[in-house]
Symmetry: C2
DNA sequence: GGCCGGGATGCAATCGTTGTCACAGAGAGG
DNA sequence: CCTCTCTGTGACAACGATTGCATCCCGGCC
């Protein structure tokens, strides 16, 4: 019934590609791409005039301009971006670095960025580091090499931002802040979101709330941890440090750690500080046959579609993910326009969405 | 309890960015980025020699090379990609165009592509069209402008591929084939996958299977439709054309159409031809309180995480999504290496994964 | 009629890197 | 001792678009 797709080499249909005899107009006779000079020649002008006509700056008389536009169209002229970037010393390609393309949070972030950039006539060059600062640094180097006007990133290490700033590339950090140098940022009010989520559980009567959080020095997770503590303090409940589980990125033992928490921590609720940890926690709970919310409550940070689809739905702190991306792009454009404008940290408010995964603890 | 994140303008923390007094070594005195000439000067050689030393081709004596490498390192030299691309007439940036970044299928595809490209020293420039051929065409133009060695795309229209081929940019189509011109492609065996899924339902005893499919001329959906028909033919079951629902991309009435099918088509099972349609179908079923698989069976094409998480899990035809991306990248690299190599269409086998959403029809 | 002003265009330099070519020196062989 | 190689290096010309500056032409005005 099921075949493993990795085994077969795939059916391969070979067919020799043939070069059509009819030479397309879009490549000059020699097979060389059409250049501005070709267009100028076709219209009987100089390259300078052609440049002015096509870029729209400087004087060109209407008849000549029309001739040039027509020629460009007819020849299928596409300006060489490298030549332009080289001359102008800056490109229209903004870099974006995210931790993991497969994670919907980052994908949505990127799509928000792209929306705004596209509208402003910029392109987005998207690179993924795997939460590895070496790869992040490589990405940064690429952007410097391309003379990107700016880079938007979910920072992993401090070096990349430092490198970019040194080279005069504007940086906007999103989701978390890490840079030593002053730089624009767009983040969620993590502390407040986590505080609300935790307060919600406390209000339900939970006193032993397990916290699953990423083991980093990122402001995102630190903020969520702080919110967790703040809510406890507010409610006058002491935090049992044993309930706080720090889990590395690609930690292969993530589920074991969660198991251990359930075995030895006696939590009546779990707060997963991001969508990945929530997924892992959810899997563990299902595997163990633990019923939500009867036996245990679960709250997550960062809403993704499956949380509303499973039964019961997962109570979650939603971030305005796409909007974060949009704002980051706007901030970047602003700085590209005026490099000396004041640094801005834009902090968006999250929203607690109560679904069915939370209820008073079973013991009550 | 819940605040709308769209309302608040966000907390804004202003701080004037200051230029540090200590000039970093990575920018030459004038604030200009470090060029090859700067490195050469620092090492007391000519630019040509510096180029040879850093790029590794051509004669350079070991001592001189070491001096140059050290100087480059010390100055924080980053080669100007535009200048290099201009001179070499080709870049190391491969274009990728997908329909929708927010759809995990495309995100995974992209991550597969990136894996391979990164390994080969290429970058990926990811652009999204919104299944709009105008945006796709704009993306293609961008890639031509950047002198990309190739482009990998999930095609929407025929013009983009045509433009790229004319301009001598290699194209690999993924997920579906559309081009008039010969071009490499990596696709799933849609017909076989759909046939298996449909056969599974028929074997369970279903005779009225609703098909939800995208309303396009894409080979992906046409293949799935064909597989659906083939399975029926094989089983000697006539297809009621009323059971086939063609739904446009961003069709706002998708759920209504599904409702209509349920109201008037009397299906005992549903086959959703992609993950998005599956999600919509699933939502409709939940809204109507229809129990899976008791009252109705559901099969999907293209496995995504939520399908394994909901209860019951969704029976699905899984595509090797990441592998499709990887192969597409390899095909592209192969062609970049040898533009005249034979055109290849790589067809990967999908895999039917039976979960709990399928059972014999209630009437049996 | 000569001069002036400004509209419209072309010339040439430039961006930073690569690669071709010529050339300088050193060692070897006649 | 003088060529003849061969190694290693530098000068220079591209790549294609942009842009400051010079130029040219025309009408109008004194």
């Amino acid at each position: 019934m099921a075949r493993d797709p990795r085994e077969g080499p795939g059916v391969t249909v070979g067919a020799v590609s043939t070069d059509g005899a009819a030479a397309p107009a879009h490549v000059s006779p020699g097979g060389r791409p059409v250049t501005l000079a070709d267009v100028a020649r076709a219209a009987g002008t100089s390259a300078s005039t052609a440049s002015r006509a096509l870029s729209g700056r400087g004087y060109v008389s209407p008849p000549v301009r029309d001739r040039l536009l027509a020629a460009a169209e007819r020849l299928g002229y596409v300006p060489n971006a490298s030549a332009r970037t080289l001359k102008q010393r800056t490109s229209r390609v903004v870099g974006v670095v995210v931790s993991d393309l497969g994670n919907q949070f980052y994908a949505l972030l990127a799509s928000g960025v792209e929306q705004v950039l596209r509208g402003a006539g910029y392109q987005m060059l998207l690179l993924g580091d795997n939460s590895e600062s070496a790869e992040e640094l490589a990405a940064a180097r690429t952007f410097v090499a391309m003379r990107a006007p700016g880079v938007i990133m979910t920072p992993v290490g401090r070096e990349a931002t430092a490198l970019l700033s040194r080279q005069g590339v504007a940086v906007v950090e999103v989701d978390r802040r890490l840079a030593d140098v002053p730089c624009d940022a767009v983040v969620t009010d993590n502390e407040r979101g986590a505080e609300e989520a935790t307060a919600h559980l406390l209000a339900e009567g939970h006193r032993r709330i397990g916290l699953l959080v990423v083991d980093t020095d990122w402001t995102s997770d630190l903020g969520r941890l702080q919110g967790y503590r703040a809510a406890h303090a507010e409610a006058g409940v002491a935090v049992d440090e044993q309930l706080i589980v720090r889990i590395g990125f690609h930690a292969p033992d993530a589920e074991e750690r969660i198991d251990a928490l359930l075995d030895h921590g006696a939590p009546t609720a779990l707060f997963a500080a991001n969508n990945l940890l929530a997924e892992q926690a959810w899997n563990v709970l299902r595997r163990r046959g633990i019923e939500l919310p009867g036996e245990l409550s679960l709250v997550a940070f960062d809403d993704v579609p499956w949380m509303a689809m499973v039964e019961p739905g997962i109570t979650v702190v939603r971030q305005p993910t796409v909007e974060i991306g949009r704002r980051a792009a706007r901030l970047l454009l602003r700085r590209a326009d005026d490099p000396s404008c004041p640094t801005v940290v834009d902090c968006l408010e999250p929203m607690l969405i109560v679904r069915g995964s939370t209820a008073p603890p079973a013991s009550l």
